[in-house]
Symmetry: C2
Subunit: 370 residues, 2 copies
């Protein structure tokens, strides 16, 4: 591990994320030198960061974390989602990531779906339907892993065999809420569970709010499905607006407390009205001329794919389908590599799940890009 | 009766409304001469209007109609709503009117509330609540007298002691639907039941659509409460848009067939989101700097009121309230005159109903305009 990676890993223990002064220092002198300055008690504003020095491990054993399925993703890594750089001095120091999905690939074409914990059956139904339909069209669903709308959105994506990303406000080793441990395992199977906070860290009220900026920053656009007057989802919506990301909301009954926030976003913030998944793709699609909503197009040119992705894509049938084992054998890669590549290819619009396993996404095959 | 009024009354028997060629002819040569030309079979495009000549009475006995509570309102009459002139060559030839309200006064500050006949309990509840609240703030409610949203809007206004206007697609002497005969009587007590078609005329599918342009034209703005994909309310919305009148819609569950149209208006037509009456007044209020939404201000300067209105306004108490009989006695006018003036003063923002009867509207009294 480079000293920069180690320092960034240690910074996630030292300071809360979105610390603009710390990010400015890291930008000025690099993460390793910043950590040294803090540890040696250099003069300046570093004193307040020393309060937590005792909690910061001297070294971080990434091999040990990998044994638990946890990896560190730093700025500049292939898996680093470049959209996070839009957060500027509020960008994460590093990310702790679990799951077989590729975070950057997943986020390239993704929708953040957020909403009330105390959601109604209406909100949960709509979240699940829209997430499922978006996932089937190759969009990844980013959410916060909470009860209510978040869980319905994650589950909708999983039900369609899609990729979903849970952004937590605690360590990825013990997700909050505990009732979602099985959901997090299911998300990690093809997608990603991630956090700015290191393993072992607990969620707090403030951390949920800090976390919300990452949800808004990761996704192409943010859709608020159901939100009461003071829902945390409105905080995510504000971040999306501040980042000038597309903001959408699902209308709801004016008689429902849980739609007061979403109807407010439509009325006062000019959020786009979403009644179904096609409204999302129509709204987000035209933003990228390379990425028309229908048929779904790959998000990257084929020749920019890395060799293992190309090998797996080459191994995919255009009709019928092949199991992950068959794809791995045909591509000459390990099973785990094949699984990860397939997730990335699906999120990128190159591959799709089908009853028999995996195949090339149709619009792609029709154009003979393979 | 002048020859112009008689000719206009006869034109309502002769031709369907919104006949642009007929309106152009009337504009060119006047109603009386146009009627003469049609009866004498002048050359030109008047031939097609002769088909119904046999159905047109030679004379129209307005005294006889008055005995049945029906009056004729022609362009230029004090009660003619000048907004109808915005319809240009689709303006009505004349209006047949029933009720103790003053049509022009009522429409000065009014909201057209329309929606599905096959409305849900949600739609009816919201229509009734918003109409009631708007009526209590001195806004008149214009609608079409149909089952569903229309009836809920009329009833909401009546429940708040407000003024409401029913625009029918048949003669005002036998309202359609027959199940609303009692509702029409209640509307006529303080408000107006009106039609472009003469007494005795039946409603047809086409007439409902023709009628919708008048609903949109009469009101300050149009609010669609609930509408399915093919609801006639969307036709009214289109007229409001074509007239560049403010268009609003109530969001509804994306799972409800009866909110597909309203959510579409919000998404594709940029209709303003309305969740409560205050959204309507906030949206319509700023259009007229003389007419801020809160507190409610009169729509006309006091010194432009006619003598009987001034007399009735002078007779109103600022605190407590007076019955219509007491107001009539204090103002020295007939009971019927007092009732009509009070309706006009309420619609105009000068007077309000209260448990004891009538009093000066508070914002008005506070400014000492009286």
């Amino acid at each position: 591990m480079t000293s920069d990676r180690l320092a960034r890993a240690r910074l996630t223990y030292l300071a809360e994320p979105a610390d603009e002064a710390l990010n400015a220092l890291v930008k000025d002198v690099g993460a390793a030198r910043a950590m040294e300055m803090i540890e040696s008690g250099s003069p300046g504003q570093t004193a307040r960061w020393r309060q937590r020095l005792a909690d910061v491990p001297d070294t971080v054993d990434l091999t040990e974390h990998a044994r638990n399925g946890i990896r560190l993703v730093c700025p500049g890594d292939p898996e680093w989602p470049s959209r996070l750089d839009d957060l500027g001095e509020q960008a994460p120091y590093a990310l702790w990531v679990r799951g077989n999905g590729d975070l950057r690939f997943a986020c390239l074409r993704s929708v953040a779906m957020v909403g009330a914990r105390a959601a109604t059956s209406y909100g949960c139904y709509v979240a699940s339907e829209i997430a499922s339909s978006l996932a089937a069209r190759g969009w990844a669903i980013v959410s916060g892993g909470a009860y209510g709308i978040d869980a319905a959105a994650h589950r909708g994506a999983l039900g369609a065999g899609g990729v979903t990303v849970a952004v937590l406000a605690c360590g990825v080793d013990h997700p909050y809420p505990a009732g979602h441990i099985e959901l997090m395992k299911a998300i990690a199977a093809d997608g990603v569970v991630m956090s700015e906070w290191p393993p072992g860290c607990n969620a707090t009220r403030l951390r949920f709010l800090t976390r919300n900026r990452v949800i808004a920053a990761l996704a192409t656009g943010t859709l608020v499905v159901e939100a009461g007057r003071r829902s945390g989802a409105l905080n995510t919506a504000r971040h999306a607006r501040d980042l000038e990301r597309p903001l959408m909301a699902v209308p709801g009954p004016v008689t429902s407390e849980q739609s007061v926030g979403t109807n407010m976003l439509l009325r006062d913030w000019q959020a786009a009205v979403v009644t179904k998944a096609a409204d999302v793709t129509a709204f987000l699609g035209p933003l990228d001329p390379e990425n028309p909503p229908d048929p779904v197009q790959p998000v990257l040119p084929w020749d920019e794919l890395d060799p293992s992705l190309k090998a797996v894509l080459d191994a995919l049938p255009a009709r019928g389908g092949a199991s992950t084992e068959q794809v791995a054998a045909a591509a000459g890669v390990a099973f785990g590599t094949a699984l990860k590549c397939l997730g990335g290819l699906a999120a990128g619009g190159f591959a799709q799940r089908c009853p028999e396993g995996w195949r090339i996404r149709r619009a792609h095959a029709a154009e003979g890009v393979k």
